[in-house]
């Protein structure tokens, strides 16, 4: 079962630059490994991550097998208004997870 860890400050001053840290549990199977029997283990990774702030896309990433398991991504944004951050992870085999976090801007 996939689960996300999101770290967004609950409160910020208007115009403050805040850090957003995200972690999604996922095996990130590279597709380059073989079993002991010599069979290739098929690729199973998260390929795309998006963050929206009150509906507007503020950060996007394309991920490749070289991203470690349980992808951790952190970035910054300017706290402009109170509202919601929506996070979305999309990957192989129909993987699709989302999470959200609220912020109060004073």
């Amino acid at each position: 079962m996939a689960s996300a860890l999101i770290n967004v400050p609950a409160k910020a001053k208007r115009g403050q630059i805040i850090e957003i840290r995200t972690l999604m549990s996922h095996i990130m199977e590279t597709g380059f490994r073989h079993t002991a029997a010599g069979e290739l283990v098929p690729r199973d990774i998260i390929t795309s991550f998006v963050c929206r702030y009150n509906g507007n896309e503020i950060f996007r990433a394309d991920l490749f097998p070289a991203i470690a398991a349980n992808p951790f991504i952190s970035f910054f944004t300017v706290a402009t208004e109170s509202g919601k951050f929506d996070f979305e992870w999309i990957g192989d085999n129909g993987f699709s997870e989302s999470a959200s976090a609220r912020i109060t801007v004073e």
């Binding site: 503020i58 490749f64 951790f72 944004t77």
Partner: protein, 158 residues
């Protein structure tokens, strides 16, 4: 299994020739590791014919890594991140993993600070290259040479 192999190979052939048509004749078989030529071509795919200059980008990775399965990495630039002058994207590549790409990160003036962190895998001691695309159209890069004692990807899956 045999049937799957065939399908996969045919897919790779199609995907390979579609992606590199006009640049490299054909990439039908995946090599065991990304060669410097693959690194160069992956970078070309991003920057096109633009010149990539060294500087501005700061790439923080430990130079000596014990475990290549999870290597912390931070890419940052000193940018005012205004609508007129900001970092549009950051692209990270490696030299010797099976695939040259690590990640593409798309930013905008709303980010306030041009900095991205993640954790990556390194299959061998090698170079990691970060390239930033600025709003004025220029490309800047930083390269770090990393020594990995325990490589990622090489172990058998249980």
């Amino acid at each position: 299994m045999q049937e799957q192999e065939t399908t996969r190979r045919r897919f790779l052939t199609l995907a390979g020739s579609a992606a590199v048509a006009g640049t490299i004749p054909a990439v039908t078989l995946r090599p065991a590791e990304a060669t410097p030529a693959m690194l160069a071509s992956a970078i070309r795919n991003v920057v096109g014919s633009a010149e990539v200059r060294t500087g501005k980008v700061k790439l923080d990775i430990p130079p000596l890594v014990e475990n290549g399965n999870t290597v912390p990495m931070t890419v940052s630039l000193a940018s005012p991140m205004t609508p007129e002058d900001h970092v549009k994207s950051i692209h990270v590549f490696n030299e010797k993993n099976p695939q040259p790409n690590i990640g593409n990160f798309y930013l905008g003036p709303g980010n306030g600070r041009a900095q991205v962190s993640t954790r990556i895998r390194l299959a061998d001691s090698q170079k990691v290259v970060a390239i930033a695309h600025l709003s004025d159209g220029s490309f800047w890069s930083a390269t770090v040479e990393i020594v990995v004692t325990l490589a990622a990807c090489t172990e058998e899956a249980s």
